[in-house]
Assembly symmetry: C2
């Protein structure tokens, strides 16, 4: 694709569309800075301009103009992404949705909500919980990420194991196409057999097919009770193997998170916590059960204990208070931050059928031993979604820069061999793009590129991402 730089005239036209107070230029160094990176390692790309439109109409004007003038547009939510999807690789416009931040309607009669994409996930969750309703998807960044970004990646989080990921809660979306046209993708209904599923095609497309301007979510009744347990295992593989057994016992926990010893150790230190743990533990499962009645949860817990007894586990910590529960969740949510604070790292977002977790974990350690990198693994074991922070450790700078990618390639090859794929919830974006051919064959890529070309004939929307 051949793009045009933004001329002074174009800049004037674009500024007029949003109002000059909603434009950020590179000269405004401090303001611009936060639009040059996301949460992906240490990547930095500066756009020519940041535009902050107020609504779909303004976005439509911007897109039409950029389409006609071959100016690249990179949509951006809160910039919490982990694959570089919101970075202006080809310069041009960063289109921030931060001003589209209203919860428009919480419809208790229909258990639906209509929101703009710039609403922070946790703000939305709390607003619906206040009505006794539940929006389960909860990525670790939920305190700062936007719902629109969650849709772009089909974000998951710990509760996905019972409740599904973002895509499972979206009924309908208003989107602005790369050509500037505005349309809804479906209808506000729980079942829809009317034409192709444009809603699900758009979700997880990483801002390459359109810009989401409204979202209709389905909600469910809020389960008010929960039990949180931290279970130490003396063998990593047993912690992974227990995951399958828990489901086979008929239990569906609302979270089932795996943390290697080092993950919990680093997070513990990072947060200045001192969670009691046996000295010989190698990994933990953080397990949450939820429901309407405590009595039922205690019964479920008994079943769970019966499963765990089959493994070599240490003393199980049952969180007694809300504070203890929060501490355990803080620990889990801060693993990545703790690793980041400790070392240069790269984060991978592998996913396999859940019973293949022990094989994946073992394989990653073997690969690490050969390449001389360390890996700190944790994540949504109930979904088979294992995050791995690859830490520089003993690797030389040269190896880190040049050889590591071969090791990552081996990890992804292993995932695919095990029936999995290379991203479970972080997306491909920029950083996994070189590896896409491991997960997708030529036929799939041809179809996806064809869809991209259909939606975005000038290729201006988020160019250089996914493929």
């Amino acid at each position: 694709m051949k793009f045009n730089p933004i001329s002074l005239e174009a800049l004037k036209a674009l500024s007029a569309m949003v109002g000059p107070e909603h434009v950020v230029l590179p000269a405004a160094t401090a303001d611009m800075l936060r639009y040059t990176h996301d949460e992906t390692e240490d990547l930095r790309f500066e756009p020519e301009v940041v535009l902050k439109p107020a609504n779909a109409t303004e976005i439509g004007l911007i897109m039409k103009f950029c389409h006609e003038n071959f100016i690249p547009v990179t949509p951006r939510g809160a910039g919490t992404g982990l694959s570089g999807g919101a970075l202006a690789l080809h310069k041009g416009v960063i289109l921030s949705t931060e001003r589209l931040n209203r919860i428009l309607d919480i419809d208790e009669r229909n258990l639906q909500a209509t929101v703009e994409p710039g609403v922070i996930t946790q703000v939305f969750q709390e607003a619906v919980i206040a009505r006794g309703l539940y929006y389960p998807p909860d990525p670790s960044s939920r305190g700062s990420c936007f719902l629109g970004g969650n849709l772009s990646q089909s974000s998951g989080g710990p509760r996905a194991v019972k409740y599904g990921v973002t895509k499972d809660y979206v009924l309908n979306m208003e989107v602005v196409l790369p050509t500037g046209e505005i349309t809804w993708t479906g209808a506000n209904v729980l079942k829809n057999a009317t034409g192709y599923n444009l809603t699900q095609l758009m979700i997880g497309s990483e801002g390459t097919l359109g810009i989401i301007t409204r979202i209709v979510f389905r909600l469910i009744p809020y389960p008010p009770q929960n039990l949180v347990l931290l279970v130490p295992f003396r063998k990593e593989e047993e912690a992974c193997a227990a995951v399958s057994k828990i489901f086979m016992a008929g239990l569906v926990p609302s979270a089932l998170e795996f943390m290697e010893r080092e993950a919990i150790e680093w997070a513990d230190r990072y947060l200045n916590f001192t969670i009691a743990r046996p000295a010989d533990e190698r990994a933990h499962l953080l397990i949450e059960l939820d429901g309407n009645e405590m009595e039922q949860l205690y019964k479920d817990a008994e079943r769970l204990y019966a499963v765990l007894e089959q493994f070599d586990v240490g003393d199980i910590l049952v969180a007694d208070t809300e504070k203890q529960k929060n501490d355990l969740w803080q620990l889990r949510r801060n693993v990545a931050h703790a690793v980041k604070a400790n070392s240069i790292y790269k984060e991978e977002d592998t996913v396999v059928p859940r019973a293949e977790l022990p094989a994946l974990l073992k394989g990653v350690k073997e690969i690490g031993a050969r390449y001389n990198f360390k890996s700190v693994c944790y994540g949504h074991a109930g979904d088979g979604n294992l995050h791995m922070n690859i830490v520089k450790a003993g690797m030389s700078d040269e190896d880190w820069n040049n050889k590591l990618q071969e090791g990552i390639r081996e990890i992804f090859d292993l995932c695919v061999r095990l029936g999995g794929t290379i991203s479970g919830e972080h997306g491909i974006g920029l950083v996994q793009r070189p590896y896409i051919g491991i997960a997708l064959n030529e036929v799939q890529l041809r179809l996806m590129r064809g869809i991209k070309n259909l939606f975005d004939p000038h290729g201006i929307l988020n160019p250089g991402k996914i493929f």
Copy 2:
């Protein structure tokens, strides 16, 4: 599109691909008959030939040949569809998946199953229940319909209200594209953020984008206990209104079915049942609660009663025995058959946000009064998915043939005005095709046609369906 008739030479080539014993020709009247219709009203279309391939490789050869020779191909499962999707509108080949009928694997460790598309839904359900697992989607035709057909329409059924529809259980599919290429659509994982969601694009595409040859489903633990209740209401609107209230009370029933008085009366008579009902009832809700423990279900039932007490309901029938439960479900599953046995009819598959059901029901009756048709309404009220059998009643033949479509158009207009759409689970196929413009705008249609053209550049796969 311009298609070619099948020449004698082409017939020879196609027959050789599947073996002559797996070919049905029009001359074989009795064998051919069942491929000329589905369950949609009284439509009849005879193909030039029926081919029954054994596997994806054979299907790939057929598709490549038909693609190159511009011969239309209509894929067909069990022929239980209600929108004419499996009918050979443009003649050519009917490609039956009936020989791809193996359950290839039930993977208890991963709670997944791999099947071929010609497996009967109920056969699959029973096979997984025998392992303590559950595949919830259960269209009324589950005793005869194929899983491949269920995917083509994203079928629902009563349990969708709690468990979701077919699309929510499909992890991955092997498909043969219209050009003959064979590919998987995704990976065997619960979360996938790797490229566009081809799996969900293919589901519900009514056999217009590819032919499904393998399906990987996710399964869940089987909830062994349930309670089934039949609740009579003295006002139809109250039965509809109660549906929203049940969810707002924090309950998620595993089924929540609405039946107008006449629906239950006709089914009762058709089955020769005598279910006790108050004389003044106008509608019923059939409610099922499920879970692991009866004790919990009794508690849920208490909550449910507290909601129902707010309405003018008659004596609630609680099914005590398995036979009583089966009878109630038989009643529900046979409404359409009962109507069919009584009168000429057309069936519509409307869907709206669930709190709009009273408005939809009222509107349909008003429209019927103006056009002089009768409607027997029933369906998945928990999902806002109301089936309506439009019965000829006092309409003249001329009005039935010429004016009814205006009435149907009014019903669909109403659905869309209420935030809904024109098909919840039956698909558009042939019979709803004239109405597609009510539900989809020009932008959506252009994108869908573009996708169709990308997958099927010669337009040979299931031509004349959807749009």
